[in-house]
């Protein structure tokens, strides 16, 4: 009787272990499936011209399909648009985010800092489609048109809380003696922050910035109502502009361009995942 009970308990124990292992292993399936599908369907589209030429018009693509040729053109307009908008967003979000993170780390006991910290979390949790609406109201309506500026504002708002949090957390785990030593040498807080604390926190902040970039680079919804999209390569910042995720969305909706989906997705996916992995490796390295 007792023996049977013990056996039952041991069987349950083993069952849980195997169940956990099996189900945990199953979560790797979607990653492999998604990577595999995008790789298999997209690898043969990647070529030099795919990165240097803009999207073809639907008419050109239709002609090519009729003639049985591969669709001409690529995603250069999207890559350049993403770079322009991301660049502008970084220029604003990184300094403001680092300064704000420094404020939170320095004044963590102040009521105002706690409020800012909560609001930053709130901003991070805000659905990206709402960031799109907001930027539309703030930028697109007053400027009377979609533009790269609007798109970069949306990306900037999304990056800000991520950079704030990573800066704050990295600065907070620095040993207090570091700051004290700097102050004891006669530096004021500004100098100590600039010359001692920020350099020491560089790794954490840098990985935070990389992670923030990888988060926003694939964002589609906030760009739909701000950058809108554009079928040729454009360098001006006050006109509608394209982005890689926007192009994927366009290809998805246009039956003539559907062949281009996978190449663009493969490029975006590889870019995002390698940024992710890089930030993870750097994080381990700097620690």
């Amino acid at each position: 009787m007792n023996k049977l009970k013990i056996r039952n308990r041991l069987i349950k124990d083993k069952a849980l272990l195997w169940g956990v292992c099996l189900l945990a292993a199953l979560t790797a399936v979607p990653l492999i499936a998604i990577l595999g599908e995008v790789l298999l369907r997209g690898y043969d589209q990647l070529s030099w011209s795919f990165f240097t030429e803009p999207t073809p018009t639907a008419y050109k693509a239709m002609k090519a399909i009729e003639a049985g040729e591969p669709i001409p053109g690529g995603i250069a307009n999207g890559i350049i648009g993403t770079m322009i908008m991301l660049g502008m967003a970084i220029v604003v979000a990184v300094p403001v985010g680092i300064l704000c993170g420094a404020y939170l780390a320095e004044n963590s006991k102040r009521r105002f800092a706690q409020v800012v910290s909560y609001l930053s979390d709130l901003l991070q949790g805000t659905p990206s489609v709402i960031i799109g609406i907001i930027t539309y109201i703030w930028v697109v309506v007053p400027m009377k048109g979609y533009s790269a500026i609007a798109g970069s504002v949306a990306l900037c708002i999304m990056m800000l809380p991520l950079i704030i949090r990573s800066t704050e957390e990295t600065l907070k785990i620095l040993p207090a003696s570091l700051k004290e030593a700097g102050l004891a040498l006669g530096g004021n807080s500004a100098r100590v922050m600039l010359r001692v604390q920020l350099p020491a926190a560089f790794g954490g902040i840098f990985t935070g910035v990389l992670l923030a970039i990888s988060r926003v680079i694939g964002e589609t919804a906030p760009l739909m109502f701000t950058a809108l999209g554009c079928s040729f390569i454009r360098w001006s910042i006050d006109k509608p502009i394209s982005a890689v995720p926007l192009l994927i969305w366009e290809f998805f909706n246009d039956p003539n361009l559907q062949e281009l989906i996978w190449g663009a997705s493969l490029f975006l996916l590889l870019f995002v995942l390698s940024l992710n992995l890089l930030s993870k490796i750097l994080f381990e390295f700097y620690r």
Binding site: R9, A33, G125, I133
Partner: protein, 285 residues
């Protein structure tokens, strides 16, 4: 740089966050006002009519609120049987080992995949599968969207839960072992009760993510403006109706869409606030 200037600069940067948040609420409320004024706040939330015939425009948010709640609830349901084992694997069974860090990396990468690519995968792989299994004739719908949504929130729920499972003190577990408990019993009687509130809060944050997910749902839910009758029927979520119609809307319809955005913003804000407060409490205890 003088100390005063430096402190001022930091304060100014910190001010940016409340200014942006205040600006978000102000812009949403002032642009949603027209819809609330025209239909009435409660009427707008409880009406299920969405028609833009000129002259007889009628907009109500109920179908989309229902769609969002259904997809989120289902996604949560599908996510638990995978995220909990991952959390146990990483935080308890193989804590600190190489396998655990590999699995943690895998879930991190899952979190990094852009939502539009999840949508593509759902559309081109999962949707045909659902049609082949005869679950629903059109393939897209609440169920399809929730399945992909579930995969998307597994990383958020799992990594945070694992963190709390890791923090369960060893002496508590050792006490149970010394009384003859098996590992399964330790997990049930010690780990879950101690880490429970933390695990719970990580699911609340996962809900917050699922509520606002846009592109995946837009590509998979079928985009019909009615209350979904069952989990296999099509519908629209609050985020997907905005993504679908915002670009072409103006006047009252635009205001109604912004009103839906405001409601979505408030719901996610409240859910996130509850989650954050619970996490803080769980960390302290």
């Amino acid at each position: 740089m003088s100390d005063k200037l430096y402190k001022g600069l930091l304060f100014l940067a910190a001010l940016a966050v409340p200014v942006v948040c205040g600006g978000i609420i102000y812009a949403l409320v002032s642009d949603a006002y027209a819809a609330f004024e025209h239909f009435g706040f409660l009427k707008f939330l409880t009406s299920s009519e969405w028609s833009y015939t000129e002259g007889a425009e009628q907009y109500g948010a109920l179908p989309f609120i229902t769609g969002t709640l259904m997809t989120t609830a289902l996604a949560l349901l599908f996510c638990i049987p995978f995220s909990l084992p991952v959390a146990l694997f990483v935080g308890e069974y193989f804590k600190g080992t190489k396998v655990a860090s590999v699995l943690a990396t895998v879930t991190d990468l899952l979190a990094g995949i852009p939502s539009i690519i999840y949508g593509l995968w759902g559309f081109y792989t999962l949707r045909p599968l659902i049609m082949a299994l005869n679950i629903s004739p059109q393939g897209s719908g609440v169920l399809t969207a929730s399945l992909v949504l579930a995969i998307m929130i597994v990383p958020y729920a799992a990594s945070l839960s694992a963190e709390f499972i890791k923090m369960v003190p060893n002496d508590l577990k050792e006490g149970a072992y010394s009384l003859g408990a098996t590992r399964a019993e330790v997990i049930r009687r010690v780990v879950f009760p101690v880490a429970g509130s933390g695990i719970f809060s990580s699911y609340i944050l996962a809900i917050g993510r699922a509520l606002g997910e846009t592109m995946t749902v837009t590509m998979l839910i079928g985009n019909t403006n009615n209350i979904p009758e069952s989990i296999t029927s099509t519908g629209n979520s609050m985020a997907s109706i905005i993504a679908n119609q915002f670009g072409e809307a103006d006047g009252l319809r635009l205001s109604s869409l912004i009103a839906i955005g405001l409601v979505l913003f408030l719901i996610t804000a409240i859910i996130n606030l509850i989650g954050k407060v619970m996490i803080k409490r769980a960390r302290i205890s």
